[in-house]
Amino acid sequence: MRAVVLARRVLTTIPIMFGVAVIVFVVMRMLPGDPVDIILGQAGAASQQDLNRLRQDFYLDRPLGEQLLRFIAGAARGDLGMSFARRRPVFAMLVEALPATVELALAATLIALAVAIPVGVLSAVYQRSWLDRLAMGGAFLGISMPAFWLGIVAIMVFAVQLGWFPTSGRLSHEVLLAPTTGFVLVDSVLARNWAALADGLRHLVLPAAVLGAGLLAIVARVMRSSMLEVLREQYVTTARSKGLAGRLVIWRHAMRNALIPTVTVVGLQLGVLLGGNMIVETVFGWPGMGRLVVEAIFNRDYPVVQGAVMLYAMTFVLANLAVDLCYIYLDPRIAL
């Protein structure tokens, strides 16, 4: 039964993706700006012949309907077209940029959760203590600080002054690692290249911490408030009166239920993080989706933007599905 429901959920993504494809196609073409003029740049000589030749290459001389059909037909076969600026298949560009973004997003989420969940729980248990005030004050700061500023400060302190971490990039150039999956950490484990693994981790810490700061703050606050609610529930009182150890009641009985709102928040935020964060990626020279897409929008590189947005839509759909599956695990009363 569950399999059928699951299959139905997956099938509904098809019309969603189609709608997204059409909308992004239309919206991109409504933006002012000529992709061919951008390639030729604000410099040098160019002839009308040049402009025409490039328009032909990109099918921009064809009617809009034909361009849309070409795009949809290609996308259905998994062919997202060629980038105007880089003249490479969009699919290959996304496959290259996505692992960098996913690696960073997962590391950021991991750091955020590893800190935020214990902090949130302890803040609730020791409500109004100095620990609670400090943690919630810190969380407030974490939400308010812009990633750009936080990133530059982190680089100045930890990379330039202390020299603990590199300023930017994913790997040092001395470390040669042939990309297999595109995930530096996975590739270095597969190649048993422990130097690359250590180097990759060193490069990951600062951007992941900066990217995770916002999520950390949100999760800590959500965790605290839902924990406070759960601790007032009758079953917690029952567990306590049965004589269970306080620690067991808190970390086993209470926390599991308090996690449900947290999972919702993390699911939504993970979807956002997987889209790539242009600001963090720019500050840390991280070659991910955020930079790729923003550059493509500025260049009016329609095929790249179209492909990336479809990928985003897919990610959101799947992230939501994953969240729903998490609910079932956490609370068996919930069905799909």
Partner: protein, 515 residues
């Protein structure tokens, strides 16, 4: 029917009030929007302050570059801060696109038949004295007709570690690493000011960042000093039997990174890929127009290539600097797309690893023929390797230079120059830029279809003060839109002085109220 008439009458009344009401009598207030991109906003605000002091209502608006240019091209904007780059040290790729009637970069919609003819005479003439005269005359006319509020050019400011020896930034903004030495270590890392270079294929890009990387992998028939002089590189000799024919004799014994010997066929193939339609894996090169009237390229001897032009093109050698020789056999064997992923050239460094959007690792090519004899040292590169890292954020580039992770960084913004100058391990290196910055005016529409208004604006802006305040002296005023580094620049042509009295008088003559 009545209702329509009533609406029309109201509309007319509103329009009339809008135009006449604030002025009262004969005099109108000059009011317009000054459009800019975010990075020039402080400059735009300073200009607007100058104009407001004269009673001109100036509203600064900030746009994304591409959207702004699209609106400008549609003729919907009045005055806009723009810039245009030139790579040939010649008005051919600067004044010509900017001022020819209907030119691709003619955002001011300026039109003057005499200027059109003079620009053609300048870029096709064979007598340099005459060409120069033509360009001098264009500068005179431009000054008088003031299609823009003429602006300035900047110093390109780069950062370098104290370990870097024998490097100075080039005016054409390429970073040539063949001649560079490092006091400690053998690998230079360069922090590039870009998200990504475009490609590894020398036929498929138009931007300078891509060229900076490719020029270290590929060599051309000719190259350029760090200033504007063209010198032979892969060519051992050049002769010009007629104004439209150039013949190059290739240097013997040059090999590509894959071991193939470079021949005349490779040179012919390189240029045919660019001038023929659909010659790069079915697609066309965006570089065609940079070769001007080049008509055909052929092998006329074992080692000799002849270029035939449709008409004289005096900047041909300057143009050739920007074309790199690619290996015919390799490309035909692996295909254009694979070549763009794994480039093979004849340059001082060969591709080892990396991606266009993260970092590109090159290693010294040991059998290198040595490079241009006129640009010592000649021989294989002194560096063991080179790394180009894409670092779009300027603060990160400066941090990486100070942390010793990179040795050269592109484009240090003026507000970060002090940080590098204070640090004894780093220095700022500057060179004359080749972009013209100015304020273009829409000459096709009121109020800037009136030459008096345009001239008034040129007198009304205190550029010296603005450049000092906003760019801290790293910018130099221009008399028109010709660069001092380019051919045909008239050093005697004075810029408009800051003269508020003359600005007021001109505005009054044009019928505007002034303060």
């Amino acid at each position: 029917m009545h209702r329509q008439r009533l609406t029309a009458a109201v509309a007319v009344a509103v329009l009339a009030l809008g135009i006449w009401a604030p002025a009262g009598a004969q005099e109108r207030t000059l009011a317009f929007a000054l459009d800019t991109e975010a990075f020039r906003r402080p400059e735009a605000e300073a200009v607007a302050d100058n104009l407001r002091a004269l009673g001109i209502q100036t509203e600064v608006r900030v746009w994304e570059r591409t959207s702004l240019i699209a609106r400008i091209q549609a003729g919907e904007r009045q005055a806009y801060l723009t810039d245009w780059g030139s790579a040939f040290f010649d008005p051919y790729d600067l004044a010509e696109p900017k001022f020819t009637t209907g030119g691709r970069g003619n955002y001011s919609f300026y039109t003057n038949k005499e200027v059109d003819e003079l620009l053609v005479a300048g870029s096709t003439g064979i007598d340099n004295a005459r060409r120069r005269d033509a360009y001098f005359r264009v500068q005179e006319i431009l000054f008088r007709e003031a299609p823009w509020v003429f602006g300035y050019f900047r110093q390109d400011t780069h950062g370098a570690s104290a370990l870097v020896e024998n490097w100075e930034p080039a005016m054409d903004s390429r970073i040539n690493l063949h001649d560079v030495r490092l006091a400690r270590g053998g690998v230079v890392a360069v922090g590039m000011n870009t998200n990504a270079i475009v490609t590894f294929d020398p036929a498929m890009f138009r931007d300078r960042k891509t060229e900076t990387v490719l020029r270290n992998i590929f060599d051309g028939l000719v190259t350029r000093t760090t200033r504007d002089k063209v010198v032979l590189e892969l060519a051992a000799a050049m002769r010009q039997p007629s104004p439209t024919v150039y013949e190059f004799t290739l240097r013997p014994g040059v090999v590509f990174h894959n071991g193939d010997a470079m021949t005349a066929d490779d040179v012919v193939f390189t240029f045919e890929r660019i001038i023929k339609e659909g010659a790069v894996g079915g697609q066309s090169s965006p570089r065609r127009a940079l070769l001007g009237p080049l008509d055909r390229v052929e092998r006329v001897g074992d080692n000799v290539i002849r270029f035939t032009l449709a008409r004289p093109f005096p900047v041909f050698l300057q143009a050739l600097v920007h074309f790199q020789i690619v290996p015919r056999r390799y490309i035909q064997a692996v295909g254009d797309r694979a070549f763009a992923e794994r480039p093979v050239g004849t340059g001082p460094f060969k591709y080892l690893a990396g991606r266009v959007d993260s970092q590109i690792v090159l290693e010294r090519f040991e059998p290198y023929y040595g490079g241009a004899p006129e640009l010592p040292p000649v021989g294989p590169a002194s560096l063991r390797g080179v790394v180009f890292r894409m670092m779009p954020e300027p603060a990160t580039r400066v941090a990486a230079l100070r942390a010793g992770e990179v040795h050269i960084i592109e484009d240090v913004p003026v507000d970060l120059i002090g940080e590098l100058e204070r640090d004894p391990r780093t220095a700022v290196r500057a060179t004359q830029g080749t972009r013209v910055f100015g304020i273009e005016l829409n000459n096709a529409r009121p109020p800037f279809n009136d030459v008096k208004v345009r001239q008034a604006l040129n007198y009304a802006v205190n550029w010296e003060a603005i450049l000092r305040a906003v760019y801290r002296g790293y910018a130099t005023r221009l008399s028109t839109a010709f660069l001092p580094s380019g051919f045909g620049y008239n050093p005697r042509q004075q810029a408009y002085p800051y003269d508020v009295a003359r600005a007021r008088a001109l505005l009054r003559e044009a019928g505007y109220a002034v303060r």
